[in-house]
Symmetry: C3
Subunit: 349 residues, 3 copies
């Protein structure tokens, strides 16, 4: 299916700069563009490609002004990246989707499956479990007993939602993600560790997405909670009784230890680690690989190991870079001081 620049601009409430009748039927990266393709430019790092791209149409932010000639037709929009999301979502929504319940799935007789749900081969649905309308449950997924999965949820291949967990609407779990396995709780006693059964659950609110092989442990008691709109990348660890606020985005391989609370609208870089029993405020940003050992107030950006406010870290790091130079300065000072001493002694003698 092909669309003209004018049709797309109308859909996106944007403005055409170039040929309004040129049409596209595919998406391509700007540096790999071909005739008939639509590309986008959001990150200025890639600006150079707009002058050479073979794509027929490029979505750009409305404040973009080319510094050279551009062959492609531009569509100027408020936010090129958000507009791209809209177009791609439209393209996805018209693709045919699998439906129906496979005869190779295992569904407990007491489970309730919503309307229009897709249940793939080798899926396991436990007792008294409720699956929402339009749920899309891929092969090898597991939903334990007494769990609830919301409407329009997508469970990727091999996703595991353990018993008694409560998952909201519009949830997406990428393949291999695990929600609600036992938290890591052992009571030391006479040199050995005794398991603390984890009798809580995980509660995930609406519009949450979690990545491949990410693990969110059930609470010892009460609930581990992921609030509305939060997105977690791959291979992330969320320990028992953690609470993560709304609209957070965490990059891959982040680890959050037990009982830590994270506020709303936080952004964490990859491989960040946060100790247990801490409070991280709202709108907090943590640089990749930060190791957080203290509460972080709202609105702050921290980084480093141990993590500090970014200004403090940057100053400390800049100083460290200049340490070899400082050492030479101090040696010079020592020598000069000794010379002075000697000269003074000569004067005194």
């Amino acid at each position: 299916m092909k669309f003209t620049a004018q049709q797309i601009a109308t859909f996106l409430q944007g403005e055409v700069v170039g040929d309004p009748n040129i049409s596209v039927g595919e998406f391509a990266k700007i540096e790999e563009g071909r005739e008939g393709c639509l590309s986008f430019l959001a990150n200025p790092k890639y600006e150079e490609y707009i002058y050479t791209t073979q794509s027929s149409i490029v979505l750009v932010n409305k404040d973009f002004e080319p510094s050279k000639e551009v062959n492609a037709t531009l569509i100027k929009v408020e936010n090129a990246y958000a507009s791209l999301a809209q177009l791609l979502q439209l393209a996805e929504s018209v693709k045919p989707k699998k439906t129906g319940i496979s005869s190779l799935a295992y569904i407990s007789s007491s489970a309730k499956i919503g309307e229009n749900a897709y249940i793939a081969p080798y899926v396991y649905i436990g007792e008294n479990t409720i699956i929402g309308d339009n749920a899309f449950i891929e092969a090898h997924s597991f939903v334990g007993d007494n769990a609830r999965i919301g409407d329009n949820a997508i469970l990727g291949v091999g996703v595991k939602i353990m018993h008694s967990c409560v998952i909201g609407n519009h949830f997406t779990a990428q393949p291999g993600a695990i929600v609600g396995a036992d938290g890591f709780g052992f009571a030391p006693s006479n040199g050995v560790y005794s398991k603390i059964p984890q009798v809580g659950n995980v509660v995930v609110e609406d519009y949450v997405e979690i990545g491949c092989n990410t693990t969110i442990d059930r609470a010892t008691m009460g609930s581990t909670v992921i609030r509305k709109g939060t997105k977690l990348d791959n291979l992330i660890q969320v320990a028992h009784n953690v609470e993560i606020g709304e609209n957070c985005v965490f990059a891959a391989q982040v680890g959050i230890a037990g009982s830590t609370k994270v506020g709303n609208n936080c952004m964490f870089g990859g491989q960040v680690g946060i100790a247990g029993h801490l409070h991280i405020g709202d709108n907090v940003k943590l640089g990749a690989q930060s190791g957080v050992m203290h509460n972080v107030p709202s609105g702050e950006t921290w980084l480093g190991y141990p993590a500090q406010k970014s200004g403090t870290f940057m100053r400390g790091h800049a100083s460290t870079m200049r340490l070899p130079e400082l050492m030479k300065t101090v040696q010079t000072l020592q020598k000069e001081l000794n010379v002075l001493k000697q000269r003074l002694e000569e004067k005194e003698s």
Copy 2:
């Protein structure tokens, strides 16, 4: 089922402070307590909640003395956390458990399944493999050929135990854990890498627990070994030919490179990395995110990157914090020295 404070105190060999006849039937976190619930207080960080909790009973350490009025009935025990474990284990043990072998499981004809084992749908059990009594093998689990799984073992959903591995009794693998996949062994030769088939196995002793999506590689030759009572959290990497001693606890996302030996009773924080071919002694503690490049003697606590003894690291870190100040001091010294020089020169001239 409900129990009175007196019944619980008798079971735990503890002492009731308050109403011995008050009864509870549920567990709750102290800050979320409700009437009819039992809570616990082990971490002093949460003491404030004991004065406001709605829980009917709170387990506390016997040396706990409230600084304000407490409404809840207290049960004083030697170790509140260990007592909680006992109570929760008791509650778990009376829950009904699934039993029997699903007709949707694939069990090789030469495999031997112990008494009272539960084998869920879509489980695969390989040839000549022996599964112990009371084993609990959840959906989508895989046990390869010629493997042995001990009595009372729990294999969570989608656990994979590869061929020829030997797993002890009372083993628990959380969902997605993988034991015995190939180690990462390649011989470089003329710029390309040639695979070294990994012909060893993994041996796991009794009372071990491993976390979700944790991976323990088989040995190149011989065995990768996890000794008795050790507990590994989620997303941990244990490379080929590693040996981990008894009663260790490793937090999530730890990685241990090939052939490293770890002693008994070690505690590693999250995201710790240890290089290959090292010896880590007994009773070693490693701070979260430490990067260990050297052998660590028994009894020591190390942290940092590269990891050092904690005292050395803390002194170094404190010095680094004071670097900007030190730099100013050195600048001041330089100026003062120059003033002195000039004054001395004036004297001399």
Copy 3:
């Protein structure tokens, strides 16, 4: 099956030092050697064991000269580790392999399965998907629609290859690895995140191996690419639109953020993190746990957080180690300077 030292030496084009007729039928680590076993010595750290090993034959590099008496027969070869790989590969190649297509597998009617392929129980093969000759697809594996898997590929237990991905020949995926799940793409708009459907794929060239639970995300548009001969260990994250060159080796738990390009022949230690949109040259080495925030030119070795050229890092680290000492020196200087000042003042007064 047993082989004499002479037969093995002939196969490896090596030289026997000792009894050419002694024979072996098993492999063992040098420190666990027994009569009838073959061991190897490649890492000089283990040299001590060659003087005490009970193994009948030991493979050594041709420049190895024992400093004490050795009981074992030695076979001297160009590269002991590469020769070991050859022997182990020979031993593996004669083991019986499973073949055939399980009736418990789900194979779409439009899929094409190559000759001699093994398809285990509970495998799912999507529509229009092509599986190469001699492919070995273990239990619980998933290959999505419109994908292509090359000849001689091995998909371990529970491996997931998502739709439209293209996988080369001689590919090996260890259990739980995931290729082609959605990249982490969300457009922020008015404080919430809107999903950017990921319409690209993953292209994996020949002779690639990826580890357990490693995740390689599909591109937003275009392809995430892993080139020929590259080997990735367990629990690695490769984000969308990343390109990794030929013959790279990455240790476990490495994470590479979106759109970063890595050259050929790179070696990354465990837990390395690389920011997005960077260029890493050819022959780059990164120390374990490095945090890379800048482009790295070809041929360089970087380490640390933030990562720097190894020389710079080492000098900086050495200086940091000497900081407490430097602080004392500066204090001494201050005191001496004050003494001088006073003496000068006395002179002047």
